[in-house]
Symmetry: C2
Subunit: 313 residues, 2 copies
């Protein structure tokens, strides 16, 4: 493994002073519906509202002084954009965030509010790469990939570490999968710290490249993803895929209406705000609930950044 | 006082096994906006989603065996209806809930889901009284008032007791006011347990009978209330008013847009779901924030029961 137990432990020590050890909540009603004990790790309460803060911080904290002087750059229109901006702000270094020009204004504003410099480009892969190369050439900034990066993966794994520390003997841990940073980190943490626990992923049927990749045994990139779970649109990478292939039990695909129903269940019964991507994990268990009777299940609620003006209810 | 410190302490012991000691949360962003330290007592996480559970339970747990045999009855289309249904269910007794026929179906269904028997009546005070008298005559059920009742007031006061236990030396405690059960209970708990702490109430301008009553020094009933804060439509009662008059520092009236803005702030920044009535308390501080600089403020978030299909955002 490229990431050892020691790496994970050092990662946790490194980022601990800057992150929240988020609470683990339960809902007796959801337990009743499932006939199981579910422990929700609430990364929606994490700084800037999502687990991405962990990986971004871990990467930023390991820059050399010289690298720090020139700042960091990434491409993201989602939570990693905000996470990197905030992590860089903590260290007083510059963050250049490349975003497609059609990204929602609210997301650009959030990045700017955290002190990031937004650089817009056309909404295609080629323009993104060109812009990235140009920013690196112009500024000397260090590129940090939103998920296909071992530092980032290790950082994301710390959420599962905390969950396992608080609740030993889980039968399952369930996380959503998009680019696979959270899932790969979760799988590694579980492999080292709770090897009897099986790791399951939830994935939207409309963006099921991870499921496809697992079926074919080779990386299948996502084309034209269609899902409300806007954190799960990306493809696995060459660093996240092998970890997931080797350590994840299975990927469960869920329909859009199942995502919305799970999200609504969490909102109504737990009185907490989670984004659609988070609900994908619960939807995956609800879909096959007969398999989880009387089991202890950890669920990672990945984030809570939603546009309240545009809800699916 | 009709309610002594010993009453409050016995009340807390009595209901403790049946309720959640709800968490107290903070938000660094909201603290930054206010220039103060705010501690939110999260009764939105209470059983059935609101503080009303406390008062309903306290009343139900003190019924005699004979009273229990005939059940309880109340009139409410809000959280007390659900709270009494659930409290009665815990004790395996019948709960008759009189609701106006035009109450939302979702609220009638919630009461039925908790095992309550919904009895509909025309949406006016006379029909309500007639129906109540008939139910009492027909069933022998004991009437429990949603707020104008010392057992209920004592129960509602336990939220502030827990808050004070967790955070001593608060400069202020802020609660919303409708019928005054929560506010009177909060004021009593604070008077006995943290006498230096001032109690402030938030009230919608469109349902400001408590403010009017305080101004005039006499109970002014609410007529034609107009506010999104649907838990605060009722008038103070002859038991809640004197306590509030004697122990509450002042009542701050807030506009509808201030309520919605405070609610949105809590949703977006704390990632928790609170109902508009809860946001009234935060709106009251935001309105006069210059007065609260560097203060320690407890805010009681009264509940989280909202219709997700009908949000003000």
């Amino acid at each position: 493994m490229h990431i050892t137990l020691k790496d994970l432990q050092e990662t946790h020590q490194r980022i601990k002073p800057f992150i929240h050890n988020t609470p683990v909540l339960s809902s007796s009603l959801i337990n009743e519906i499932l006939g199981a004990d579910v422990y929700f790790k609430c990364e929606n309460f994490q700084k800037m509202g999502a687990f991405k803060m962990r990986g971004a911080l871990n990467a930023v904290l390991q820059l050399s002084d010289e690298q720090g002087e020139f700042g960091v750059v990434t491409h993201s229109s989602g939570n990693f954009a905000q996470a990197l901006a905030l992590a860089a702000k903590f260290q007083n270094i510059k963050a250049y965030i490349i975003m497609p020009e059609n990204a929602p204004e609210v997301k650009k504003k959030a990045v700017k509010d955290y002190g990031g410099k937004v650089i817009e480009c056309e909404a295609n892969l080629e323009a993104r790469e060109t812009t990235l190369n140009k920013v690196v050439a112009d500024t000397g900034a260090t590129f940090l990939h939103p998920y296909n990066d071992y530092q980032v993966i290790a950082g994301q794994g710390t959420a599962a570490m905390e969950l396992i520390e608080e609740h030993a003997n889980l039968d399952y841990i369930v996380a959503p999968v998009g680019g696979g940073g959270l899932l790969a980190g979760t799988a590694l943490a579980t492999y080292y710290l709770s090897p009897k626990t099986k790791v399951i992923a939830g994935e939207p049927l409309g963006a099921d490249d991870a499921w496809q990749s697992m079926e074919k045994g080779t990386l299948i990139p996502q084309t034209n993803p269609q899902t409300i779970a806007d954190g799960l649109l990306t493809s696995l990478g060459d660093k996240t895929f092998p970890i997931i292939r080797d350590l994840v039990e299975k990927i469960v695909r869920v329909e859009e209406d199942e995502i919305v129903a799970a999200m609504r269940l969490i909102w109504e019964r737990m009185k907490i705000i989670v984004e659609p991507s988070s609900a994908v994990a619960l939807a995956a268990i609800l879909k096959e609930k007969e398999k989880y009777q009387s089991k202890k299940i950890g669920v990672i609620l990945s984030g809570g950044n939603v546009d309240l003006g545009n809800l699916p209810f």
